[in-house]
């Protein structure tokens, strides 16, 4: 019964997004830009929450997987335009949808495979070590892209097609939330939670903890890859430096602010933290502010970092931690 209801919700929200996307041309470009950024950040935060929140591991390399997805999807759409021509008889809307959907899927799968390759060795490590190793892998991915000329190196790669429309971004966000929520409420979810709550006890009960950790990790990487593909076809320009360690930290901040292990919290935090820098930028234009305050407001990382520290000191479970989006009698 439960699953059917969530499916209904998914389909209803997809329909709603489709309807909303018809009005997207009326939205001011500035707000449209922010709206799309919010959607992409939701995908990133919700997927990272699977690893950092539900499974209790600490990954600091989410941006690395996003980069893999972004570059793979871009290469797909740039070098395989022939496929689009083959699909052309299906009509422009359908052919572009299939083409871009395939590109996103390929990007996601590439990121997922890299996630699997990274996850299998590194998930033997715990806590701080895992954090550093994932950070290391994220940086290695970035350095490799920087040094491969075919990918544009440090100069970046421009993306000609703007496929990421409102519908695509939010449809993918809805699918991500749907998959994560359903997964968490399944047998697998119990596995994730058991790894988080007491790994040794879980192992003693015969749970293959490595399997669950690697599954959570590669699935999160898959969605990060999809977010990367969306990002590339929305910003139209990607550089390896755009996927640096700071980016990974901002996603971690979203997960922590929302409360680790709360999908609803991650969504809300992604929205809040995407809007926050814009609000601060608007506030900093206010003419009566003391002049020393303006650069403080314009550097979004200062409030981010203070938020992290204060959050950990006062409410380490996050804003919505410990309150699942929906309760379900197990």
């Amino acid at each position: 019964m439960m699953i059917e209801r969530t499916k209904v919700i998914l389909i209803a929200s997809l329909a709603l997004i489709l309807a909303a996307s018809h009005f997207s041309s009326h939205i001011d470009p500035y707000y449209y830009d922010i709206t799309l950024s919010i959607g992409i950040n939701i995908i990133l935060a919700v997927s990272l929450n699977l690893v950092n929140g539900y499974t209790g591991q600490f990954s600091l390399g989410h941006m690395g997987f996003m980069a893999v997805g972004a570059y793979t999807a871009t290469i797909f759409t740039t070098y395989l335009p022939g496929l689009l021509r083959i699909l052309a008889p299906l009509g422009s809307l359908l052919s572009v949808s299939i083409f871009f959907g395939l590109a996103l899927a390929v990007g996601g799968i590439a990121a997922g495979i890299i996630g699997l390759l990274v996850g299998i060795p590194s998930l033997r490590l715990k806590g701080d070590y895992l954090a550093i190793v994932t950070l290391g892998f994220g940086e290695i991915i970035r350095v490799i892209i920087e040094n491969v000329d075919a990918l544009g190196g440090a100069r970046g790669l421009s993306v000609t097609a703007v496929y990421s429309k409102l519908f695509w971004v939010y449809a993918m966000a809805a699918v991500t939330i749907y998959v994560v929520l359903n997964l968490v409420n399944s047998t697998y979810g119990r596995g994730f939670l058991s790894v988080r709550d007491d790994e040794i006890a879980a192992e003693a009960m015969g749970i293959n903890t490595t399997k669950y950790k690697v599954l959570a990790f590669s699935l999160a990487a898959f969605f990060a890859g999809i977010a990367g593909g969306l990002y590339a076809h929305f910003k139209q320009f990607i550089t390896p430096d755009g996927f640096n360690f700071m980016g990974s930290i901002s996603i971690v901040t979203m997960v922590i602010l929302g409360g680790m292990g709360s999908t609803g919290g991650a969504v809300i935090a992604a929205i809040l933290l995407t809007i926050l820098p814009e609000v601060l930028r608007k506030v900093s234009d206010y003419p009566f502010l003391p002049h020393w305050l303006v650069p403080l407001l314009k550097n979004q990382m200062i409030p981010y970092s203070l938020l992290l520290i204060v959050m950990m000191l006062t409410r380490p479970q996050g804003l919505f931690g410990g309150i699942p989006l929906k309760r379900k009698s197990a």
């Binding site: 600490f58 954090a131 190793v133 892998f137 930290i249 971690v252 200062i302 970092s305 520290i309």
Partner: protein, 313 residues
């Protein structure tokens, strides 16, 4: 051969700096069992402290480089960093002493980000030019050294190496021969037992942070003497690499951190120096440390000199 020795010398002076920073990581890990992510940024603050102090100190020598001035700058920067380290511990880490380690790790990341970005606000985003404290130049090698005359050894390289050795000996003395050092070692074995034996754990932890941060401050000055361009994000890469060095030597182990730092510096310099022959583009410089880290953690997670800790339930 001469080229190899040259690379080795460059590697050793880089490694000495990694070693100084790595000691701070390893000491804090020894007493608190957590990675002080903000340590690399304390190193950056050390460099900037020197940057602001140096002009005032150099006034006494009419703006000319002077060794006394350099010593004063070094000591003041160490003191400032020690205070910063103690303050960070007191404000951000002490309230979290009994919380899960992940909470403290996240806080440390927050502190690190704050120092970097507040640094950008306070010191400016653009790189600054660190004043010449010692009149750095290449040492002329006497002709009787034969082929070795082709080596380029800078005064600063020798200085870095000498100061690092002096600091290591001093640290060794503090840790092994003083009461506080003994308390530090005892605390790293069993914090509950030390508190029962009348050791004030808070004081010892503050002292450890101060000591580690002072070493990072010294490293900040030393690197600025070698590479005079400093910016608020300069602590990021050396910080992470010094952490790798600490893991390489066995985290929590003080001689191990020094060894790991020197090894990492040499390996990194050799890989970059021989990048043509190894077919590794020199752009991969920053990835070397991470590859090394991943290899160690997979094959010898306790590091070269670390001991195995069994997990108890």
């Amino acid at each position: 051969m001469i080229e190899f020795i040259q690379q080795l010398i460059n590697g050793l002076s880089l490694g000495a700096i990694y070693a100084l920073i790595a000691l701070g990581y390893t000491m804090v890990y020894g007493v608190l069992r957590f990675i002080n992510f903000a340590h690399g940024d304390v190193f950056m603050v050390g460099a900037f402290a020197g940057f602001y102090i140096a002009p005032a100190v150099l006034k006494f020598s009419n703006g000319n480089p002077s060794w006394t001035g350099a010593a004063i700058v070094l000591i003041l920067a160490m003191v400032i960093c020690a205070i910063l380290g103690i303050v960070i511990e007191k404000l951000a880490y002490r309230p979290l002493r009994d919380r899960p380690r992940l909470t403290v790790l996240i806080t440390a990341i927050g502190v690190s980000l704050f120092l970097e970005n507040f640094g950008q606000y306070a010191f400016g985003v653009d790189p600054q030019f660190f004043p010449d404290l010692i009149g750095d130049h290449a040492i002329t090698i006497p002709a009787w050294c034969g082929p070795f005359t082709d080596l380029t050894i800078m005064v600063s390289q020798v200085l870095v190496f000498v100061i690092t050795i002096v600091l290591l000996v001093a640290l060794r003395f503090i840790v092994m021969k003083t009461k506080l050092g003994m308390a530090m070692r005892a605390l790293s074995v069993n914090p509950l037992a030390t508190s029962l034996m009348g050791v004030n754990n808070d004081v010892v932890i503050s002292f450890t942070f101060g000591l580690g941060s002072a070493l990072a401050g010294a490293a900040g000055i030393l690197i600025s003497i070698q590479q005079p361009s400093i910016d608020p994000l300069m602590g990021l890469q050396p910080g992470i690499k010094a952490f790798v060095a600490a893991v390489l030597g066995g985290i929590g182990n003080i001689p191990g951190a020094a060894l790991g730092g020197v090894l990492l510096g040499v390996i990194e310099t050799l890989v970059v120096g021989y990048s043509d022959r190894l077919h590794i583009p020199s752009g991969y410089r920053d990835a070397v440390a991470f590859f090394l880290l991943i290899l160690i953690l997979l094959f010898k997670p306790t590091g070269l000199l670390g001991r195995v800790e069994r997990e108890k339930v």
